[in-house]
Symmetry: C2
Subunit: 258 residues, 2 copies
């Protein structure tokens, strides 16, 4: 996975109301490798202590946040600005989803362009006049029966798409699991199990034995056991069959006793 490029998209919040949401936005930015946050006329001024409290340690976007007096000022150095909105507008602008937009962001950043994502305030979203300053509208494929999306979650979904557009894979600290056991190891386990089952009288009636074995092998095979797991399971079979032996011995002793 690529490290966060210095040119990752800029997040612009126009007239954000709640400092908690600004902090939650910073946290989501840090989760997905973005750092450049711009605040246009935050309602309660800036800085706001509650933003840091709700960022859960993602302080760097907040510490470096730039406060602007207008959307025009906030986008002055950006070559492409995407307006994110859940409300259709009468403007003739392309309307795309975050997934499609993220492909464009990656391409534009690859060409050295600076990209901005513009979000409106919690209550009313973006003014159409601000959308008109953008080149594209981005809208999340939301259930139209409940379109009230939390500001920080809207940012999170967009910056998540930015990151996934670079690589959709578990983080590198998730190491791939052990490989499945070889056919030989598996067959050894199956045969061990089947011997013990044969001894215990499991296969009944005898003419059905081949089918029962096949179905058992298919069921167990779906789990794709690793070598370690095959060793463990052979131990399980041994323990169960020896245990049965002990029970039988115990019963035999009881029978023999007066």
């Amino acid at each position: 996975m690529a490290e966060a490029a210095p040119l990752a998209p800029v997040i612009i919040l126009n007239a954000p109301q709640l400092a908690e949401n600004i902090g939650a936005v910073a946290r989501a930015m840090a989760n997905f490798g973005l750092t450049d946050l711009r605040l246009v006329n935050p309602r309660d001024g800036w800085p706001q202590e509650r933003a840091w409290a709700s960022a859960s340690g993602a302080e760097w976007p907040l510490n470096a946040a730039k406060v602007c007096g207008s959307v025009a000022e906030a986008i002055a150095d950006l070559q492409r600005v995407y307006a994110t909105t859940a409300r259709p507008r009468e403007l003739q602008l392309p309307v795309i989803t975050p997934r499609a937009a993220a492909v464009e962001w990656v391409e534009a950043v690859g060409r050295g362009e600076r990209v901005g994502l513009l979000f409106g305030g919690e209550r009313a979203g973006l003014e159409t006049a601000d959308v008109a300053l953008c080149q594209t509208v981005v809208t999340i494929p939301i259930d139209t029966r409940f379109r009230s999306l939390n500001l920080a979650q809207a940012v999170a979904i967009n910056v998540y798409e930015w990151r996934v557009a670079q690589a959709d894979a578990p983080p590198p600290n998730f190491r791939p699991g052990a490989a499945p056991a070889s056919g030989e190891a598996l067959l050894g386990f199956y045969e061990h199990l089947e011997r013990e089952l044969e001894t215990s009288g499991f296969f009944h009636p005898p003419e059905k034995t081949p089918n029962m074995i096949q179905n058992l092998r298919a069921a167990l095979g779906r789990a794709r056991f690793t070598d370690q797991e095959v060793r463990t399971l052979r131990g399980v079979v041994t323990a169960l069959s020896r245990g049965r032996g002990k029970v039988l011995e115990k019963l035999a002793r009881k029978k023999d006793s007066p």
Copy 2:
């Protein structure tokens, strides 16, 4: 876009701490068409008024939320449970991203299976013993330098992927924009503009005119104007050239006056 199926995945929060987060989870569920919420031992009991306050009107998942005493109880009727975690485990379980998982959810739901997504509490996430009750681990491709993901945002990204796996398109209330104007209408506009530019002495030196015209047409063509926009722009050209006429008349009058 498909309406929310009754079998959309179930969201299970194990030991959630903050009622605000439970409300934010309900809101994200409503945004993406999910309704079935289960709470395993919510720290502060249930119901909690603050959950409703932070759901911004997405009350139905909260009203119907089922409180369970254990993860085992919460998943008892589910055929597939996905453990969402940002922390690698020693368990031999497949580890996939929400995007890959969403494809499986859609397929499983299509077969009539009930699917659950299990999330841990805010502070410590899921216990490995609870992950072991699941069939698959889902992890978001996060920046490993800042892995502290907000609970409601983790839910939002997963349920967003559930919805997008069904259709990645703007909601139906976003109507497609008007079609681009025809070549004839565009050419009419270009020629109108070029006549007025010719009159105003814009094309200089004259031998460069064909190139200047070509470059201007290419630049304007990229905007893919609609018919309405072409009409507006012809009005713009007319206004500018008439305005220029008026300025010239004014200058002429001034010159003539004593």
